[in-house]
Amino acid sequence: MRVYQGIPVSPGVAIGPASILRTEDSLPPRRTIPAAQIEAEIQRYRAATSAAQAELGHTTDQADLPHAVRSIAASHREFLNDPTLLGEIEETIRNGRTTAEWAVAVVFHKWIERFRALKDEFFRQRHVDLIDLRRRVLRRLYLPEPGEEPSEERPAILVTKDLTPSAVAELKRKGILGLASEYGGATSHSAIVAKSLGIPAVFGLGHAVSEIDPGARVVLDGEQGILVAHPDGATLHRYKELQGRLARRTRILHRISQLPAETPDGWPVTVMGNIEFPFEVVEAVSNGADGIGLYRTEFLYAGRTTPPAEEDHLEAYREALAHLRGRPLTIRTFDFGADKFAAELGMPAEANPFLGCRSIRYSFARPDLFRTQLRAILRASAEGRIDLLLPMISSVTELRRACALLDQVKQELHAERIPFNPELRTGVMMEIPAAAVGADLLAREVDFFSIGTNDLTQYTLAVDRTNERVAALFRPGNPAILRLLQQIVREGERHKISVSMCGEMAAETSYALLLLGLGIRQFSVAPALVPQVKRVARGVARRTAAAIAREALLLSTPEDVDAYLAEQTSRVLGEV
């Protein structure tokens, strides 16, 4: 049994045979095979070259392909017939007792180098043909044997070197129990797509991937980011139990997700999704989201070198609206800076990026970008239910400045006879302590608040949660945070504006209960968590939650608050 630690990307437990998918550019490790396997390995190699020749023959036979393409394919076929090449590969397998992949790689490498050393340009260029041919043969060798590819009949855990986002998206979902990859991180685009497939995924396993044999039994723990090869009896038993528990939980949550989030004492709660890309709306909606409470539009910058044009914005907003089918969409204007897209935008390095020219401040500094976005949001507002959310507002002055710009853009559009919703609702992110403390001032001038609990907690407690030295101090249950939340909700109620929250605080069931108790009725969370929050809403009477929140507010330390909430949560909601 071998246990490997990787990066958790998508939760869940998968148990099954490993199906190794290698890309043709990765060079195989040298592996020795037992003497008894030599003939079989040679057969594998011959089968791979036959298949490659058949592929090439197919190309040469296609009359409508350009002559050049066909003749290249023809010459590649002949290379594959070359007795010297074939002889050397077979000899390497036989005498070196290596795998076919390695023999192919090493012999081709030798020939590629020989050609590269030739003086005549024309003849030297043949090394490129050999590189291509090596890729083709390796690809045939790397394909899982028929019967080893994941399928509905033989589901398997796919193990691979790297997953490009399009490869992940194209994977046949039937039969893939989980994904394990050598490269990749938790927030890469591939990770986002893998998560949306709803199967356990672990990336960043490193060279561990090359140590796993095809067909080996493997356990994938997506929550902990662990891959276990050849699990022993005890480990297997433990994971099977966990799998059962998780499956039950998923069934319960799925049932709940399709129901409205209303408390037992009749208090309606809205649970929406936070997204970064329009395609994530699909997952949110299928998980029962009532809409999108936060669309982080800075991700329009992902993979771009130039700023998105108005039409690019509009296309994205329209796509989100299309998937939402009438449900509301809250678009937050660009929240650049600090950890987000600073490099792409050429933002100068600052000594304190979290306290610097980021987010709305950057938008004011770049009116070209800001106006383009405002125009697109206004235009989209004519086509669906859209709310505008301004990030990182720290004073009424900033709010008014943004609104003045918005008015100007409205006038422009009006003059151009482009339709928009003149009643577009505008709200502010409550994430800077100044906004929370002065909530009464902002409440008078906006249509809604959206509490960004992550940043609110960081700024209020003066803790960088990505700094391991102080990360333990990041406690949303800190009594000071509770008081700020209470204040925000109170001012919202007093001024009759809606107060929602969009940070990650509600990901914790006990905090979701607390927020409900504090009077928050609109939640926006990661799409996968929508059912969980609905479960809290459906499982706790508002009266009960309010009483718990009142008690929590009397406690003096974060630890006391967390302990109290944990106890109350399991009392009221039970174990799931």
């Binding site: 010459s75 007795p83 010297t84 020989r114 003849f123």
Partner: protein, 98 residues
């Protein structure tokens, strides 16, 4: 590359007449033809470099551009036949219309 068989070697000098030299197409015609002479080992020599005429890849290593003189060497029962046949190929520029 060249094996031990009937030690009587038949040699002849040939010239590459093709405009683009002995590149992939002519090399493949040459190798394919040479392979037909199963009872002969055929090699081609250019200076100190000796290659197996039945291997396209080795033939390409000759970098035999137009005008290059090569030694065609055959051994074995079919040696004479092989040399005649392959020499004729060189003469006919490998039947390629280029």
């Amino acid at each position: 590359m060249t094996g031990v068989g009937d030690t009587t070697a038949v040699e002849v000098t040939v010239v590459v007449k093709n405009k683009h030299g002995l590149h992939a197409r002519p090399a493949s015609v040459l190798a394919e033809t040479a392979l037909k002479y199963k009872e002969a080992e055929v090699s081609i020599r250019k200076g100190s470099l000796v290659v197996d005429a039945k291997s396209i890849m080795e033939l390409l290593l000759l970098e035999a551009t137009c005008g290059t003189r090569l030694q065609l060497v055959a051994r074995g029962p079919q040696a004479q036949e092989a040399v005649r046949g392959l020499q004729a190929l060189f003469e006919r520029e490998f039947d390629l219309t280029l």
